[in-house]
Symmetry: C2
Subunit: 249 residues, 2 copies
């Protein structure tokens, strides 16, 4: 398989590869991946984030560079650089107004090309934002990766979401990724008026998932409307000196 | 194309076919589709819901029948019946603990088989819960449908979600579905302590999406933690006599 060898050579200068995955969409996977990349860059690491979420490439917008394009030079495709982080995304190749009706195989080819042609350079961390779920898209992408240091799984706290976390852990193990840990997102929202902590979802059996698979709870993040407001402006929440960002570091 | 003809004949007794779609996952598409089907059945209509969300088939759990199986007789595959609604889902065919690593083409075949082999019977409404996004999977499913009366698009209120609503509308038009309207979900949450309405997301330019495409806002639903608690138990929110359910009828 020439392609895997080529990808392997290209990624030779990358120390750690971390995939961020989720069992379902809309749980904050891309937001967490973007903020993780930014927090690592702020602490002095050389970081690149690869937006492999083919149906909802939102990483460029989270970094405020959705209208940029990736350029090419003799060493290959050059990632876009913003907030101290290198960014690679299909979004930099797409026409903004047309619905993405590219067929699955075409998108897979684009992702494969990006793996093979991008000039990754020397990196401490490559963060890969996988498509949600355990279907064939995340699977095909995971199989392109020469090796990975592990997977972070993002979920909301309710049982139906934890059911898909179990599937994600089974998936990660089947493609040879260790699970670094679980991030529970949107756990509660604080009332701006009276400070009450409102649980948005029924807290499910998180501890039994952690125990059954021997994994760690990395962080429990509140739902903070500020996060979404910042995201609209291409700002990241770890730039706020608040309790969320130190959960991250 | 024998298959399309066969599907067409099978669905001969269905008066209205409505697809429920969303640009991204996690916005409440399946929850809204399930409650719509239930509300229609409660008002005396003969309703079936087809769970075509291959990566996250959650409809059976929303109706409290996740452990049922579909049976076969000489007329074809028999939907499961619960709360006055017929339900067809791949979930009734899957082994609960194994991660769904079926490849896309295999899943598409299963969906196609369900279209062709299910004994739909006489129905007033068939509600189809499409996979999220405007990619390959929703497209292939939409092309199997002989005709449809229209599409309901579910979204959260922020601009990044509305961007994918525009893509969904473009998608619906490209496959010949009229857009019946937009449902904005998770617009705000009411503080149980002091009654304050907390906007979870920045309200984006909803009016300009409605105006640009000439579509209607069907309902604006709050985020209500009770909805998720009920979902865990296989109960639907329209069973509550509350302000949400009359938005629905
Ligand atoms: N903790 C949070 N608090 C508030 N909003 C959040 C939080 N996490 C994510 N969001 C918002 O929720 C939406 C979905 O997040 P996203 O990262 O796109 O999810 P996914 O990648 O899982 O589909 C975005 O609008 C984002 O701004
Ligand atoms: N209006 C709402 N209020 C509270 N919880 C909701 C609401 N709509 C959906 N949910 C919850 O949000 C989660 C995602 O909903 P789901 O219908 O599965 O989304 P999708 O089909 O778009 O992926 C579920 O746990 C569901 O119970
Ligand atoms: Zn309050």
């Amino acid at each position: 398989m020439d392609e895997l060898k080529k990808i392997n050579e290209r990624m030779d200068g990358i120390k750690h590869k971390i995939v961020v995955m989720s069992g379902k969409g809309g749980v904050g996977k891309s937001t967490i991946a973007a903020n993780l990349a930014y927090a690592l860059a702020r602490s002095g690491k050389r970081v690149c984030i690869f937006d492999a979420d083919m149906h909802g490439p939102t990483i460029p917008k989270l970094f405020g560079v959705e209208n940029e394009k990736m350029k090419n030079d003799e060493n290959g495709i050059k990632p876009v650089f913003a907030k101290g982080v290198k960014i690679v995304s299909m979004d930099f190749l797409m026409d903004k107004d047309k619905p993405l009706i590219w067929r699955g195989p075409l998108k897979m080819n684009v992702i494969k090309q990006l793996f093979m042609e991008t000039d990754w350079g020397e990196l401490d961390y490559l963060i890969i934002d996988l498509p949600p779920g355990t279907g064939d898209e995340p699977l095909s992408i995971a199989q392109l990766l020469p090796s990975s240091d592990g997977a972070i799984i993002v979920s909301t706290p309710q049982n139906v979401a934890l059911m898909s976390v179990r599937r994600s852990i089974g998936f990660a193990k089947s493609v040879g990724f260790d699970v670094i840990g679980l991030v529970i997102n949107m756990a509660y929202v604080k009332c701006p008026n009276c400070g009450e902590k409102i649980a948005l979802f029924e807290r499910g059996a998180i501890d039994s998932v952690l125990k059954d698979f021997g994994i760690e709870l990395l962080a429990t993040l509140p739902f903070d409307p500020e996060i979404d407001r910042l995201a609209e402006k291409g700002e990241l929440f770890v730039s706020l000196e608040n309790d969320i960002s130190c959960e991250f570091d």
